[in-house]
Amino acid sequence: MSLWNWLFNPSGLTAHGFCLSWAPGLVALHAGSDALIGLAYFSIPLALAWFVRERRDLAYSWIVSLFVAFILACGTTHLFSILTLWVPVYGVEGMVKAITAALSIATAIALWPLVPKLLALPSPDQLRELNADLERRVSSRTAELQAALEQRDLLLREVYHRVKNNLQTVDALLHMQARRTTDPEAREGLGDLRGRVFALGLVHQQLMGSENLTTFDIAPFLKELSTNILQGGEHDGVTLSVAACPLQVGLDFAIPLGLLVTELVTNSLKHAFPGGVGHIAVTLAKGEDDKVLLTIADNGRGQSEAGSGLGASIIKGLVAQLDAVMRVVEDDGLKTEILAAAPLAA
């Protein structure tokens, strides 16, 4: 007897329906039930497979694959049960059952040691609890950070406040001293000093008003600074224009730049206009390669005062501090250009 015959037509055997005496009710009952079981056993693993496929983070998903395999095999045995009602393919049916047996027993064996591990996994309730706990901790930590930030802002404001108060005091002292000083050169020196202190004070005033307490827009600062210097000057006939691009700056950039503008505008006011009439233009523009170009130009008599005096050495030093390049051009007056790297805060 060949294997083929053994599988598909075992000699001398009759179809299973024969055992049921081909009683139509019984055959229908068996065939119908097996058909439904088979369908269900194909449907269930498909649903399981879909679930595992979608939930890729599932722990021990291989056990579900085993379930899928053995249920599919079970379903197949039921389909063979239907077939063997009429066709005696008991060999094949037996093989399918053997495969089912192997898969079932493997699943059964694998499942026992897995149960403790599955039990050790956090349940949805535990996860919810953990999550809630985590959220509580996050929100309390956030509140702590928020409080620390507010504390920091408060301290920074207090520091700026004290710096400003001290600068105000320094200004008052200089003012008092200047009024008692008769020597014109000394008086002028004290006046220049007050101008420089003003630049420092204005920087801190801008910082106090800024949202983040560390940077502010330099455009309104330059406008106020230059206007104040002009108003402090002797000539009513000198006009001023300030055109500055918006640029967020911090202390490190604003102080040297503010002092440079103070020196240069003061220089123009003092030396450019012997007749007391003229114009000073302050501009700040963004250039190429993250550079900013500060220009202070007057239409005065065009004689450079650079190279001597305190103002000149302050300008030289601050240009170096800003890593900038300065160019002085005599062109219908005096024009000073300072090309500096834009501050990192921008």
């Binding site: 400003k164 108060n165 105000q168 002292l173 003012h175 008092m176 003003f198 004070g201 106090m208 104040n228």
Partner: protein
């Protein structure tokens, strides 16, 4: 405002800052009728001198702050008040608003900031 004298009262508890303000006012041609360091002195001096303008600090020595003093001066004398404060804290600003001040200036007051404000307030 009738019955007010053409002078300015400075209310500031830090001597040097008060002195600085006084000098700045003098430089721009105003008479300073006095410097008060506490809210009580401020009200008493305002009643005595009837200034047309008061420069008012918020944090003062002793009991009561600049807002208390300003409210009392408004009610009893009617001077215009410019607040000069070192603080931009919202709580302070809210309190200052109670008095409907003529202007609010923030320290440090340098250069022309005081002069511009005083001229505007006295003109308005």
């Amino acid at each position: 405002m009738s019955g007010l004298s053409d002078c300015v009262l400075v209310v500031e508890d830090e001597y040097l800052i008060a002195e600085g303000l006084r000098l700045q006012l003098q430089d721009i041609g105003h008479t300073v009728c006095g410097v008060a360091a506490t809210a009580r002195d401020a009200v008493a001096m305002a009643e005595a001198h009837r200034p047309s303008l008061v420069l008012m600090d918020v944090r003062l020595r002793g009991s009561g702050d600049g807002v208390d003093a300003a409210l009392a001066i408004h009610a009893r004398v009617g001077s215009k008040v410019i607040f000069v404060t070192g603080s931009r804290e919202p709580a302070t600003l809210e309190r200052i608003k109670l008095d409907h001040p003529a202007a609010v200036l923030f320290k440090p007051l340098f250069g022309r900031q005081l002069q511009n404000a005083v001229e505007q307030v006295l003109a308005g």
